[in-house]
């Protein structure tokens, strides 16, 4: 058996090779290349040419073929180069473009013909593939010819400049040529065009910016910058390579904004303020977008905005006229906040740092006035009292949410709580709330915010004239006792006995400052009316059963009602139109202690039942204010002390500064403790031997178990 070896059989049709063969075949191909370049029709068909090329490679004449190709192509390109070089003026670029298109077409055809060589001979001999060869030759022979190189670049740049100056240029031509450079390699694109393009742009925009910054005002300059950016963007998308877009944009930014940052800022400060004042959202947005591009540009805008808000707020808070009407004042605050919320949303892209700046500005100026907590509570009171028809639940909710936002800015939240409780109690007991729902909603919001025992229950009160309020669930207030008329006293005693009889172990205190009474009164001409009055008012009126005239002072002595409350009471009885059951001798608006009061015989009313309202929660007078504040200060002391003990108990040993810091942190949800008061409490604790100073380090405190 013959062993068969597996081998590749040689090509069967062995063609006889002779030295002329190569030469002849090459001549055919060479002519073909000429024809292609000269746009002549080729005599041999594509198939024939292709086969010839194939044969050459097959018979090991690939080298000759390749070299020949190179030479031929080169000589053609040289001719082309010359013709381009000699093109005049405008036609230079057009000629270049035309020849480039031709070259590409020719190259395509040549490559197709030489495809076999491209796929076999080329790789195995590490030659440059045909297409690439074509590109390289084009680059080296045509583009980088001495004359063409600079001329091309300069011409392109010149066109750009002309377009920048307003002329219309051939964008298509630009696009093609720049694409050509890109096709030749991105480094060619960069070296032969982009680098110089960017340089020239820098110079251009430096000049532009100088020109405009001198002649324009701020708003116009920004508009100009915006338009330049748009133009360049558009140009880039039309004929530059996409990689150039971001580069040219940053050139514009740098030259037009960054380099003039300081000038712009100075220009901008007053302009910005005017924009803010006038709600110029578009201008603000433009400025925002401009400055965004620049390092720390936004900080500048933010700072200007912050200090403007602070100043506006400060003026508002210090304005004595405003402060006379607290509700109005708080309304202004809300308006101010709304305004800036809008600015930040519409012009400043809802930027978080701007929102924070707004918040801190508000926090700053709201706490400049010690009366802010009181005023905000009065505002709430006003809103919750008003029986405004047609105001839906929703609107009340929105208002309350806004109030919560102001509440968050307050440092002295405990002071607010105090006033809130006072006002709430008055509202509830005189049935003057818009809705229980609204009250509950606000309480819930406050509780959520502080986690504190803001008032809890709203009890459905019975129609008894006595409301027994458990101290736990109602805001307690010191209840100034007053002298009840004897008729009432008897009844009160009876009630007390009854109540304590059935609920032993409790204490009953009459809250005389909040109560109601229905009095039957007969006036001069026999008119009978039923008057619905408060306890205090009742006490005052009953006095006139036994006297015709009394001075304010006398009334005070008889009823023991605190003077400030009494004055308000008398106001409501004597000075309110339609409700003046008493008459004051002097027709002045204020009540002085010597004023004389008479029972008003001439009182008339269309209604049988007359409700004499209590004068609404007033702004506190100066002395009341001081008193409330003192109470708050007093209440803070034990809180501070508890906080100190808590801190020291857990830390055992702690330095003075750290104690202050920890205690402040613990209390900051309620109020900002005064370090001096903290120090005082520490000393008190040292005296009472809860703490001691360390013997060696005097800044250290130690907890004594």
């Amino acid at each position: 058996m013959k062993k068969r070896q597996f081998c590749i059989e040689r090509f069967k049709n062995r063609v006889v090779v002779d030295s002329n063969y190569a030469e002849k075949t090459w001549k055919i191909l060479e002519d073909a290349i000429h024809d292609i370049y000269n746009h002549n029709a080729c005599d041999p068909t594509f198939d024939e040419l292709s086969r010839n090329a194939y044969n050459m490679v097959l018979h090991r004449f690939g080298e000759k073929l390749y070299t020949g190709l190179e030479k031929t192509m080169t000589s053609h390109l040289k001719q082309i180069s010359q013709s381009i070089e000699s093109a005049q003026g405008e036609s230079f670029l057009e000629e270049l473009n035309r020849k480039w298109v031709d070259h590409n077409k020719a190259l395509g055809k040549i490559r197709d013909i030489l495809m076999y060589m491209d796929r076999t001979f080329v790789p195995s001999n590490h030659k440059t593939p045909v297409h690439e060869l074509g590109m390289n030759l084009w680059r080296d022979v045509v583009i980088h010819s001495n004359k063409t190189k600079t001329r091309l670049r300069d011409t392109l740049l010149d066109l750009v400049l002309r377009e920048r100056n307003g002329e219309v240029i051939s964008r298509g031509l630009m696009r093609n040529l720049l694409k050509m450079l890109m096709d030749l390699g991105s480094s060619v694109y960069q070296k032969d065009f982009e680098d110089r393009f960017l340089e020239a742009s820098e110079i251009f925009y430096s000049c532009e910016s100088e020109k405009f910054i001198k002649s324009c005002d701020c708003e116009d300059y920004l508009k100009k910058v915006e338009s330049c950016l748009n133009i360049e963007k558009e140009r880039a998308s039309h004929y530059l390579d996409s990689s150039s877009e971001s580069k040219i944009i940053s050139v514009v930014e740098k030259k037009m904004i960054e380099n003039h940052r300081h000038t712009l800022i100075d220009m901008n400060k007053s302009v910005l303020v005017n924009m803010l004042r006038g709600d110029k959202y578009e201008d603000l947005e433009r400025m925002f977008n401009m400055f965004r591009r620049v390092h720390s540009g936004l900080t500048i805008i933010k700072d200007v905005m912050t200090s403007f808000i602070r100043d506006t707020g400060k003026q508002l808070i210090m304005d004595p006229e405003r402060l006379k009407n607290p509700v109005d004042f708080v309304q202004c605050l809300l308006v101010l906040k709304d305004k800036y919320d809008k600015v930040i949303t519409l012009a400043f892209a809802n930027d978080k740092s701007f929102q924070n700046a707004l918040n801190s500005a508000f926090e700053y100026f709201i706490n400049l006035s010690a009366r802010s907590p009181e005023f905000i509570s009065l505002f709430v009171d006003d809103k919750l009292r008003r029986e405004i028809k047609g105001v839906g639940e929703e609107d009340v909710e929105t208002v309350l949410d806004k109030v919560m936002m102001l509440f968050r800015y307050l440092q002295e939240k405990d002071v607010f709580e105090k006033y809130y409780k006072q006002h709430l109690a008055k509202r509830l007991l005189s049935w003057k709330t818009v809705s229980d729902e609204a009250e509950r909603s606000l309480i819930f919001k406050l509780k959520t915010e502080c986690g504190y025992q803001f008032t809890s229950k709203l009890e459905d009160s019975p129609t008894l004239s006595v409301q027994v309020l458990t101290t736990g669930s109602w805001p307690t207030q010191p209840s100034p006792q007053c002298n009840l008329p004897s008729e009432i006293r008897g009844l009160c005693e009876k009630f007390r006995n009854y109540y304590l009889g059935s609920h032993s172990g409790r204490r009953l205190t009459w809250q005389a400052n909040m109560g109601n009474a229905d009095l039957k009164a007969t006036f001069g001409k026999g008119q009978k009316h039923e008057l619905n009055v408060s306890t205090y008012q009742m006490c005052v009126l009953m006095l006139f059963n036994n006297a015709d005239r009394m001075t304010c002072k006398e009334i005070e002595q008889a009823t023991a009602i605190p003077m400030s409350d009494l004055k308000r009471c008398l106001q409501s009885l004597a000075l309110v139109k339609g409700k003046n059951v008493l008459r004051k001798e002097l027709m002045s608006k204020d009540i002085s202690e010597d004023d004389v009061f008479f029972f008003n015989e001439k009182f008339t009313s269309k209604l049988f039942k007359v409700k004499i309202g209590t004068v609404v929660a007033q702004r506190e007078t100066e002395p009341e204010n001081i008193e409330t504040r003192q109470r708050v200060e007093e209440e803070r002391k034990p809180q501070i002390e508890t906080a100190i003990v808590r801190v020291m108990k857990s830390r055992r040993v702690l330095e003075h500064n750290n104690v202050i810091a920890e205690v402040t942190k613990q209390l900051q949800a309620r109020f900002l403790p005064n370090p001096v008061v903290i120090k005082k409490q520490i000393e008190s604790l040292i005296e009472r031997e809860f703490l001691e100073r360390d013997k060696v380090d005097r800044e250290l405190y130690r907890y004594l178990a």
């Binding site: 000393e683 040292i686 005097r698 800044e699």
Partner: protein, 228 residues
């Protein structure tokens, strides 16, 4: 050999072995001394109470030719570790005089200058200073002393060492209304103040540190005063 560390009681530093010798050899002399100390005590003591009372102290002072308000009497009390102001018990008397090696009035008088030196030693003075305050707490559970007495005590105890600070602080105390009494912490704070803060510049005083509040107020008062 470790030294016996008992500077406060004034016992002399000596080798234990030497002390033994001393004691054994002079035990007779010792008991004689003790006898004399005791009899000196009873010459001044009040018959019924068995203590030297204020009258007795006055008599003692007269014999020593020292004013009974003199600081050295306070120093003597300190040496005795006397607890009650104006009274000396027999134990306290013994403790003090034994430490001073005095069994007669004249010896006691002669011991006073050395006693003063000993008290003024920085290591002792702080202790003496705090003792002075405690000594004046006469009532049980009393923790603080009224302003008037504090001013006197301060002048007595610190007047010679820190005259400027003391006189100004006394003036401040008399003029202010915030404090009616001064407690131990504040008393000691003032001593620290005199020792640590440069006077009259006050440049290194920082109210944000743990200085007692009364001193913060004092410094503020001083600074206001300077402006005028």
């Amino acid at each position: 050999m470790r030294r016996a560390a008992s500077k406060k009681t004034g016992q002399s530093n000596s080798n234990p072995s030497a002390a033994d010798l001393f004691r054994s050899a002079s035990s007779k002399a010792n008991s004689k001394e003790l006898e004399r100390i005791d009899s000196l005590f009873y010459s001044y003591a009040n018959g019924s109470s068995g203590l030297i009372d204020p009258e007795g102290i006055e008599a003692l002072c007269a014999d020593m030719e020292v004013d009974h308000t003199d600081l050295r009497i306070l120093m003597l009390a300190w040496k005795m570790k006397s607890e009650e102001q104006g009274y000396f018990t027999v134990d306290e008397w013994r403790r003090g005089l034994k430490a001073l090696r005095a069994d007669t009035v004249s010896k006691l008088k002669k011991a006073l200058p050395d006693l003063e030196k000993e008290v003024r030693r920085p290591s002792n003075f702080s202790d003496f200073y705090s003792y002075a305050f405690q000594y004046c707490l006469t009532e049980e559970k009393q923790k603080s002393i009224d302003i008037e007495s504090i001013c006197e005590l301060l002048s007595l105890v610190l007047g010679s060492t820190f005259p400027a600070q003391v006189s100004l602080f006394v003036e401040y105390l008399k003029n202010q209304n915030d404090y009616k009494v001064v407690n131990m912490d504040q008393w000691m704070g003032f001593f620290r103040f005199c020792n640590e803060i440069s006077f009259p510049s006050l440049s290194d005083y920082d109210p944000e540190l743990a200085w007692p509040l009364i001193l913060d107020n004092f410094v503020e008062w001083l600074r206001e005063k300077k402006k005028i």
